[in-house]
């Protein structure tokens, strides 16, 4: 017996209240969420808490309600545990180096920093691609929305049968959620308000009869190309992150760094030193090893940064150059008005 739905907030991890979403709206239809840092962090936190608690519990039980979204969300677990294990692997090395503990510890610290920078650079660098695409085309390929999913009750008393999922509008190119991008006529918006805006921005013109039909293939194309650029550039920038962490300047940082934030002065000095070393590591990576004479080795840092930058620029440029030209035919020329069509 399916009993009345109580609420949804008790099964979205540790978030007690969700200011991003109107609780009434989400029960009726998917809700768009503004793509800003605080919302992204809130979504990330929500997904993370679920990924380490509810989703694995459901998965290990073999629940019918465990779905592909949950499986993908759990991908963060190996990412985090893998990073921590990598740090442990590199730092455990120092234990077995009685004669040169300091040297081994330095290496371990740098590699741990490398793991951290890898993740940070990978996350931040996605914006190097998605932001320019948004500026030039108005298309935010990362725009999130929330959707309430109804599950099967696990047992007879299970009334908690909703689950909140966070997706991206253009997450699936085969099934983009165009529905959330149409305007709400009850609120006085025109139906194609977003498509009109995008059409104008990407040069398809104003006052199009069916701007959504004109814009959709272009949005798909731009999203595919942006995803391609993002996939390649973000991993290359992640490589740059590792490169930065391996520079010698960090030795000075690890000599004095403290994480005891309650000791204000040493912690403040640590933060300042971190900034200084980060800047110096950029210079060191760019200039290459001091005593290196081989051209390739001397310039390998430049090459690493250059490759990442080039992949980003080329990727963005490719996303902005369209294959689809606006059709010269009017819809009147190809559509018989008296007939109804099914299209996908």
């Amino acid at each position: 017996m399916i009993q009345p739905v109580k609420n949804y907030s008790n099964n979205i991890g540790f978030t007690s209240s969700n200011k991003m979403i109107d609780e009434e709206e989400i029960k009726k239809h998917p809700v768009l969420i503004k793509n800003n840092l605080s919302n992204r962090m809130a979504i990330g936190w929500d997904k993370f808490t679920n990924a380490i608690t509810m989703y694995p519990a459901r998965g290990l039980k073999g629940s019918k309600n465990s779905n592909f979204y949950e499986f993908l969300t759990m991908g963060i677990i190996p990412y985090l545990t893998g990073s921590l294990t990598l740090m442990a692997v590199f730092n455990t090395y120092s234990t077995y180096m009685p004669k040169d503990k300091a040297g081994a510890a330095k290496f371990g610290n740098k590699m741990a920093l490398g793991v951290l920078f890898y993740g940070l650079a990978k996350s931040i660098s996605k914006e190097f691609v998605t932001k320019p695409v948004k500026w030039f085309t108005g298309i935010d390929t990362e725009e999130p929305y929330a959707e309430m999913k109804y599950k099967l009750p696990e047992h007879i008393n299970d009334t908690n049968i909703t689950s909140l999922e966070y997706h991206k509008v253009l997450e699936s190119l085969e099934f983009p959620r165009w529905d959330v991008k149409y305007g709400d006529e009850s609120k006085g918006e025109t139906r194609n308000v977003w498509f009109d805006k995008i059409a104008k921005k990407i040069g398809l013109g104003d006052n199009l009869k069916d701007s959504d039909q004109d814009v959709k293939p272009r949005v798909k194309e731009i999203t595919v190309k942006t995803d391609l650029a993002k996939a390649f550039a973000s991993y290359l920038w992640a490589g740059v992150g590792v490169g930065l962490a391996l520079q010698n300047t960090w030795d000075k940082f690890f000599e004095m760094a403290t994480f005891k934030f309650w000791k204000v002065k040493p912690f403040y000095e640590t933060v300042v030193k971190f900034g200084e070393c980060l800047w110096n590591s950029c210079k060191e990576l760019y200039r290459g090893p001091k005593d290196e004479t081989k051209y390739l080795y001397k310039n390998s840092g430049k090459l690493l940064v250059g490759t990442a930058a080039l992949a980003t620029v080329l990727g963005v440029a490719n996303a902005l150059i369209s294959r689809h030209k606006p059709s010269k035919l009017d819809s009147n020329d190809v559509i018989e008005k008296g007939r109804k069509y099914v299209v996908n």
Binding site: V224, L228, A231, Y341
Partner: protein, 872 residues
């Protein structure tokens, strides 16, 4: 797409742009029924009415991988990746292809990191390991679910939770990836029943297929979740373990490839050397020529030419070239003057005279007495200095004439009322020839001598070009020869010598039978390692013949591996021959061009090679071999000496040895123990700071005794000697006996018999013993160490042959070799660290694997049970 359309997972859209809400029907579409096949395909009709569209017949299939199909699958996967990349670049990729791109991006990023790290590392093996690391990481990512989850699941449940299927579009996907969309229809009844039997689903269950599918779904989901939970821990650890296991093989492979390459280089030297061809010399010389075409041949230009010609050589060769060029171009010291130098001369004069006036003469007056360019021009023209080459005497005359001009100007100023003291006047005039303060601009003499008569004309350029070609050709051969010697003997990671050294040192723990516990107890302290080493050698030396022979054989067979990679015979044979030919040929050609001093720098002066480049090259080889050979031979020698002492405890191998007091015998053995364990070259230089009893018990001349596989000291007590012992440097006989015992006694028969099978090792041991006894351990060395170890005298930059002694500090150091306790200590620590690391992470990995595998036993048991009624 059609599948999803049917399942209603995604919204439908109508042609008008109106979006269909879930549940909305499109029943107003006109249906056209096809009654029979049309003879002709009417495209307009088909397009106008799309209701003929039906789901395609199912084309999906389970992907069944086998080892035989692995290469084909691999190629197909690459093809899929390339297609995905191509589609995405043109903006047409589907979701499946975009997923592939993320994997590609991750691999590309991994390669970028490995490539960058490759450039930071210096040793070839560590460079290669960067790529092995990335490869092993991705391999671990793929291997872990297969090994820890898939394989046990197949064995226990009879199906693979990670099996894949290929959909109608040829896209390969995980069969159980989406827990709510599993294409079970691809499995036949037979397969389902087989799995059902393994899962112990009752055979008489109604809707058995459904029950089997549900159980499979559950198990697969549990496996997928377990994969997510364990992969993060497993991948880095598995990857590290793979790297640890792979490293020796990478090292071996590198060594094999490098030695093949080097051996081939020497075997086919005339053809292979072109690979090391360089144009640096010719390019640099051409650059100097183009910048100095027809300019005066100054010392600076000669220096620049010498630098360019010696681009590929050391400063010694450069000095030879410079000396030869000076003889050719600068010996005829004649200079020419030019009217372009007048202002510079005037400025220099101004500075010299102002310095000389020391503030006693006003500067405007000085300006008036300094000859200006016009006066100087008049002087040079009148005297004809522009039209002839001037030697140093004539340059002096020019300066004298300029002094005359200054004097004349002073007189003119004096005539117009200027008062100037005689001594100041003299100082001003004499300052023309001799500046009184250091000049920050060129002095007059320098300016007048800066335009030699000899110019860098076509003839000179031609000679330099010929020389450049010869030096360039020689550099090519020299580079090729260097490559060979460096690859074999350099103190650098990855060379044949480094590998030989590392392999031998690593094998020592096994040869000496040092167990893990002993390593753990001693690894922190070099002294403890030395003691352990000493005791182990005693154990073998005092063992039965078979055990001792086995020990010597394993030691000798490891040392003999020098012939496999380093190949000393080839280095001192074929390599030296090639080098001699190359150097002699270059020297002959240089002499033909009149560059005798350069030739001498290459091959010596005909009487001796010492101080020449070829001598340095040969020394690199001999020193490189000597150091490693003697270090390893010293272990063999230690074992041999211990064996001999054990077999002759009365010291009869020494002259009057049997009559020696036992305490002296024991002191001799104690010092031998020290020298053969932790002895360094400095111990020989300080005549052994060894504490002895100044009043030994001479009444006891008995033989030594042994207990529990080691010597038993009756009198010698190092602890007691710490307070009462003294260092007796003057005991020449003690020194002689030590040297005699260590290096000059007959080699023990047991040792000799084994070494008969290892001629190289026998030779190495003999060379070591001979050098130690005759050079390092001579009486002169003991009596007058300063004279022997003193640096040989030099004359004109070369060692005076008569002052040369073989026992240079370098020779002594190479002969004594490395301290064995230190060598073994480093090796044991490394062994311990490696074992400990492998043990720690191996245990962790094994624990994780066990936990993951065992978890399989609990999968598929949650959820509904089948009631007796259902079973019935």
């Amino acid at each position: 797409m059609m599948d999803n359309f049917i399942t209603g997972k995604h919204p439908m859209f109508l042609a008008s742009g109106t979006e269909a809400k879930p549940g909305q029907h499109t029943s107003d579409i006109e249906l056209v029924t096809r009654r029979k096949n049309k003879p002709k395909f009417d495209v307009n009709r088909e397009l106008a009415n799309r209701t003929f569209i039906r789901p395609l017949p199912p084309k999906g299939r389970i992907v069944r991988n086998s080892i035989a199909s692995a290469p084909l699958n691999f190629v197909q996967d690459i093809k899929t990746d390339i297609n995905a990349l191509r589609s995405a670049a043109s903006g047409e990729a589907n979701d499946h292809q975009l997923g592939k791109l993320n994997d590609l991006g991750m691999k590309l990023g991994g390669l970028a990191i490995a490539s960058y790290l490759f450039t930071l590392k210096h040793a070839p093996v560590t460079k290669a390991m960067e790529f092995v690391g990335v490869g092993s990481f991705f391999a671990s990512m793929a291997l872990w679910p297969k090994l820890a989850l898939d394989l046990p699941a197949r064995l226990i449940h009879g199906f693979s939770p990670f099996m894949r299927y290929e959909d109608a579009q040829g896209r390969k996907k995980g069969f159980f990836s989406d827990n709510q969309f599993i294409p079970f229809d691809m499995l036949t009844e037979k397969e389902i029943n087989r799995i059902g039997n393994r899962l112990r689903i009752p055979t008489n269950l109604p809707n058995r297929r459904e029950a089997v599918e549900e159980k499979m779904r559950q198990i697969a989901l549990q496996n997928n979740t377990m994969w997510m939970l364990t992969a993060g821990f497993a991948t880095p650890v598995l990857s590290s373990l793979i790297c640890n296991v792979a490293e020796p093989y990478v090292d071996k492979a590198h060594s094999f490839i490098m030695n093949k390459k080097l051996d081939n280089l020497l075997r086919d030297f005339s053809n292979q050397k072109v690979k090391y061809a360089t144009n640096i010399t010719i390019d640099n010389v051409n650059s100097v020529i183009s910048l100095n075409h027809d300019l005066p041949m100054t010392e600076k230009l000669v220096g620049d030419l010498a630098d360019a010609l010696a681009s590929d050589f050391d400063p010694i060769v450069r000095t030879g070239i410079y000396e030869d060029l000076k003889i050719k171009f600068l010996d005829n010291k004649k200079f020419v003057l030019s009217d372009t130098q007048l202002n510079e001369i005037s400025n220099s004069l101004s500075k010299q005279i102002k310095d000389a006036s020391n503030g006693k003469v006003l500067s405007d007056v000085i300006n008036k007495i300094i000859p200006d360019a016009k006066q100087l021009n008049q002087l040079f023209t009148d005297k004809g200095y522009y039209t002839k080459a001037l030697d140093s005497i004539e340059i002096g005359e020019v300066i004298s004439d300029i002094s005359g001009l200054v004097y004349q100007n002073i007189q003119t100023q004096k005539a117009s009322g200027l008062e100037i003291k005689k001594n100041v006047e003299r100082a001003l005039v004499s300052a023309v020839a001799n500046p009184q303060k250091p000049m920050n601009i060129p002095a007059l003499t320098t300016i007048l001598s800066e335009r030699p008569e000899k110019r860098f004309d076509a003839e000179a350029q031609n000679l330099i070009r010929k020389l450049a070609v010869q030096m360039n050709n020689f550099a090519t051969e020299n580079n090729a020869l260097h490559e060979y010697a460096y690859g074999k003997l350099a103190q650098a990671p990855g060379t044949a010598k480094a590998k030989y050294w590392n392999d031998f040192v690593k094998s020592l723990a096994n040869i000496l039978n040092i167990n893990t516990k002993e390593i753990e107890q001693t690894r922190y302290d070099r002294k403890l390692v030395g003691e352990l080493f000493n005791n182990k050698v005693w154990e073998y030396a005092t063992a039965d013949q078979e055990t001792y022979n086995k020990f010597i054989r394993s030691l000798a067979s490891e040392i003999a591996k020098i012939d496999m990679n380093v190949k000393p015979d080839v280095l001192t044979g074929k390599y030296f021959e090639n080098m001699q030919d190359s150097f002699n040929n270059a020297a002959r050609q240089l002499k033909q061009l009149g560059f005798d001093k350069t030739a001498e720098r290459l091959v010596g002066n005909g009487k001796t090679e010492r101080g020449s480049l070829i001598s340095a090259k040969k020394a690199f080889v001999t020193d490189g071999i000597q150091n490693v050979s003697n270090t390893f031979s010293s272990i063999l020698n230690k074992a041999n000496v211990y064996r001999m002492i054990y077999k002759n405890p009365d010291f009869k191998f020494l002259e009057n040895g049997t009559s020696l007091p036992r305490e002296i015998k024991e002191e001799l053995v104690a010092l031998i123990e020290y020298l053969t364990t932790e002895g360094r070259v400095s111990d020989y230089a300080v005549k052994f700071d060894f504490l002895r009893n100044p009043t030994p018990d001479k009444s006891d001349t008995s033989a030594l005794s042994f207990e529990n596989g080691k010597i038993s000291y009756k009198h010698y007590n190092p602890k007691k000697l710490e307070s009462s012992g003294i260092i007796i440097h003057s005991d020449v006989n003690f020194f002689k006996r030590i040297m005699q015992t260590l290096f000059n006694c007959t080699i023990d028969n047991d040792t000799k018999n084994i070494l008969a099978d290892f001629s190289t090792v026998e030779k190495m041991l003999n060379v070591y013993r001979n050098d130690m006894y005759k050079e390092v351990g001579t009486l002169e060395n003991f009596m007058y160490p300063d004279a022997v170890t003193g640096t040989p005298a030099y004359e004109n930059g070369r060692i005076k042959p008569e002052s040369y002694t073989k026992t240079t500090p370098k020779f002594r150091s190479n002969t004594v070799g490395a301290a064995l306790d230190e060598m073994l200590s480093n090796s044991l620590r490394e062994t311990y660290n490696t074992r400990k690391w492998l043990k720690t992470f191996g245990r962790f990995g094994a624990g994780l694997l066990g936990f993951t595998v065992l978890s399989q036993l609990f999968f598929g048991h949650s959820g509904s049970k089948y009631s007796e009624k259902e079973k019935a």
